[in-house]
């Protein structure tokens, strides 16, 4: 996310001309053929009929032209937009995008010789854009936090941003080979970084704080609309269900780790508890408990069982401060895995069928709505997995609501105090043990709830779904995305679950890549991809500018609340 700062004596006029020229070259190139072979990356072989990937190149070119036009004629209404930084992000992103596509064409068709002129021209255009953008002079922008648009305008922009997000995600998922997905990701990343460097997201975060209901509702609608982009097919929806379950668990863990600051290394066991309770009490042939109450009862029981387990392991350990909790939860995760592996009738009671797990769990049927069949909504088809997806989105929305209510409450303030200085918090009258156990058992409850749905959404519940590796992935999602923020965790969970599914070729290296990514994150952005400002301050407390920003936002938030 950091564009290296190269100091070249700026020549704004030359830079502007080069940026515009490169952008024009790029647009022209996108209208030409890039490859002889029509099977590579969609069809890039027809001149004058751009494929989706080429259309993105056109958009990049057009944005480049707009940026060039903005270099000198600085509109007062856009004085907060950092033209130079965003133009550099755009140019570098475009270059990466074009190189990825060209590499893919060359790789698949057997050599750079097979690149058509369009591909070469696009590469030249991108290079010229990069050169131009680095010749631009740094600009001084007005504080994005102080820009207030008209109410309707802010709401429109928020809605449009969410719609663009939905479109981008649907597009990335449409790719069925690694190359297309990677290219689409690069395009999405380019636009994201462009807006970030320009200062759009800073503005958006403040605007969103002013229109919290709009963004919450909008995000929910976008998430619910997503199945409609899939034309009733299940390929992506099954991945989406996996992500949604993972996300629910990560959001629960976010309360435990992100708000209360309790390091839980065995969190997946709580999801597993819910899933096993759901499976054992389902009407599957292999279910081990003879009582089959309605799902709502099972869901509640699963969640409560999880919470009770949380109380049992939490109450002795949470009285201690320090790393004991991490060690105990790590052990608890292992105990859970070993226990469900062994409760097969020979080593213990036959509750879980050991390593075979409980299979053939029937689909959910809630209030006469059968999750196993497809449903029609006008001309759209809602597939089997989409049903679960929608249910899980609603559960996630519930967890997010709980999270944000807690975060801004007296309890949330108590958690912050505990995280910062446990002893001082105690002297202030904060019930340390009570608040910690509330976070810990509450997190377990939410994971258990998600688990009971998981039991029905996946065909079988087996011990190997609940290993330490899964726990560490959950934690990685929280840390990578940004502890204590909902958007960050959603991003982290999606990235960690989606990439291995879509980019099959990295499967073998995925642990290596995630490990590397985490190390780099800790070095360069320890607060996570999307951090709450306060969190950012905790990691960079010498940054006075940041302290000012936090102060500003705080004032804005209070005004919005008043």
């Amino acid at each position: 996310m950091n564009i290296p700062k190269i100091t070249i004596s700026p020549r704004p006029n030359v830079g502007k001309a080069l940026l515009a020229g490169g952008a024009v070259l790029l647009i022209v190139a996108a209208l030409l053929a890039w490859s002889y072979d029509s099977t590579i990356l969609g069809d890039l072989s027809i001149s004058g009929n751009p494929a989706p990937l080429q259309e993105f190149a056109i958009v990049m070119g057009v944005v480049g032209l707009i940026e060039a036009a903005l270099v000198h004629r600085r509109l007062t209404s856009l004085s907060w937009w950092d033209t130079t930084s965003s133009a550099r992000a755009l140019a570098v992103g475009t270059l990466v995008y074009i190189v990825l596509i060209d590499y893919n064409i060359a790789y698949q068709s057997g050599g750079v010789i097979n690149l058509d002129p369009g591909a070469w021209l696009a590469l030249v255009g991108a290079l010229v854009m990069v050169a131009g953008s680095f010749l631009l002079a740094p600009v001084k922008v007005t504080n994005q936090l102080k820009v207030h648009g008209a109410n309707w305008l802010e709401i429109v922009v928020i809605t449009a941003t969410l719609a663009a997000l939905l479109f981008m995600v649907a597009f990335i998922l449409r790719g069925d080979d690694g190359g297309s997905v990677l290219a689409a990701l690069a395009a999405g990343g380019t636009f994201g970084v462009l807006l970030f460097r320009g200062g759009f997201f800073t503005w958006l975060s403040v605007a969103a704080a002013r229109h919290r209901p709009v963004i919450m509702l909008g995000a929910l609608v976008v998430a619910l609309l997503f199945p409609l982009t899939q034309n009733g097919t299940d390929a992506n929806m099954s991945i989406a269900v996996d992500i949604a379950i993972f996300l629910c668990a990560a959001l629960g863990l976010n309360i435990v780790v992100g708000l209360a600051g309790l390091l839980d290394l065995g969190y997946i066991a709580f999801l597993g508890t819910g899933a096993y309770v759901g499976a054992m009490m389902s009407s599957a042939a292999s279910a081990t408990i003879g009582w089959h109450p309605p799902f709502l009862v099972v869901a509640l029981l699963g969640a409560l069982t999880s919470a009770v387990l949380g109380l049992i392991i939490g109450s002795p350990t949470l009285r201690l401060s320090g790393d004991y909790l991490a060690i105990v939860t790590l052990a608890f995760g292992e105990i859970f895995h070993t226990a469900v592996n062994n409760m097969d009738g020979t080593n213990g009671p036959d509750l879980t069928h050991g390593p075979n797990g409980i299979a053939g769990i029937p689909d959910l049927n809630l209030f006469g709505f059968n999750f196993g069949s497809t449903h029609n909504l006008g001309s759209f088809t809602i597939s089997n997995y989409s049903n679960y997806y929608i249910l899980l989105v609603l559960v996630a929305a519930l967890i997010i609501t709980i999270f944000s209510r807690l975060n801004n409450s007296r309890i949330g303030r108590g958690w912050i105090a505990i995280r910062e200085d446990e002893r001082a918090a105690e002297a202030m009258g904060v019930n340390i043990f009570g608040l910690k156990i509330l976070a810990f058992a509450g997190g377990a409850f939410l994971a258990g709830l998600a688990g009971t749905i998981q039991a029905h959404a996946t065909p079988s519940v087996v011990p190997d779904n609940y290993t330490f590796q899964e726990s560490s992935f959950l934690l990685a999602a929280v840390v990578l995305g940004g502890m204590g923020t909902v958007v960050g965790v959603a991003l982290g969970a999606t990235v960690l679950k989606l990439l291995p599914e879509k980019l099959r070729f990295i499967e073998d290296y995925r642990l290596l890549i995630f490990g590397l990514a985490l190390v780099l994150m800790m070095r360069f952005r320890p607060e996570g991809l999307i951090a709450s400002r306060r969190r950012q301050l905790e990691f960079h407390d010498e940054d006075e500018n940041l302290a000012d920003i936090v102060q500003e936002e705080h004032v804005d938030e209070q005004k919005a609340n008043a």
């Binding site: 105090a417 910062e420 002893r423 001082a424 105690e426 002297a427 407390d541």
Partner: protein, 238 residues
């Protein structure tokens, strides 16, 4: 009249080491009582035990006629006993206002909290000016003001201050001591722990001198100030 705070035969031990060895003292309503002594005399240990952060190995502590030596720390705060800890222990990444609100954590009366917030700002105008600033960026004296303001936010009947003058400039120390006097006039009872014997005794209705876990001397503040033993041991005069 029974004393507001009554400490009877209190002993506190860290493992095998006994830091406080059977001390007795009382704090009456409206008084400023001070515990003075050198490093390691057991002053901070005594305060931490009273506020429930440490448990006594023997003895009794009563506050407003109720035994509190087995009550949890957070409940003691609710009873009206506030503790401004040694080294200030403010929350450095929280803003001034958030720090103050955390001081009122044990209370649930919202409107009164707002009134007290205003009172804290009246007491320390500098806090009002910087209400949104992270507290970690403050100087030592400002942090001490914040710590005192924060302790006052629980609306205590008894305020315990642990070395408020630690590491402060003489001017800032004077300001802090004046505030202690102001708080007393407003009706807050104060238990003050200090190494700076002279400043503390000037204010104190009653003073206790602690030496390695025992009370060796006590009496009204002004009397102790002129007593030969105190002069020799703590004020460096012959």
């Amino acid at each position: 009249m029974t004393a507001m705070l009554e400490v009877k035969d209190l002993s506190v031990a860290y493992g095998k080491i006994t830091a406080v060895k059977g001390i007795n003292f009382t704090v009456e309503e409206g008084q400023v009582v001070t515990l003075i002594g050198t490093n390691g005399a057991g002053k901070t240990t005594t305060l931490r035990t009273i506020s429930g952060l440490l448990r006594p190995s023997a003895g009794e502590i009563s506050f407003l006629g109720k035994r509190i030596d087995k009550v949890q720390a957070h409940s003691i705060v609710t009873m009206g006993l506030a503790h401004s800890p040694e080294g200030r222990r403010i929350f450095p990444r929280q803003s001034v206002e958030e720090n103050l609100m955390l001081g009122a954590f044990a209370r649930r009366d919202r409107t009164d909290i707002q009134a007290d917030l205003k009172e804290a700002y009246d007491l320390f105008p500098i806090l009002a000016e910087r209400r949104k600033q992270p507290a970690g960026t403050f100087s030592g004296g400002e942090q001490q003001m914040l710590a005192m303001g924060r302790a006052m936010m629980s609306r205590p009947k008894l305020l315990m201050l642990d070395e408020p003058s630690m590491g402060l400039s003489p001017i800032m120390m004077k300001k802090i001591m004046t505030t202690v006097r102001t708080l007393q006039k407003r009706g807050t009872t104060i238990l003050l722990v200090e190494q700076n014997a002279r400043a503390a005794l000037k204010l104190a209705t009653h003073g206790y001198v602690l030496e390695v876990g025992k009370i060796v001397l006590d009496g009204p503040g002004p009397e102790l100030l002129v007593s030969d033993e105190v002069k020799k041991a703590y004020l460096g005069e012959d």
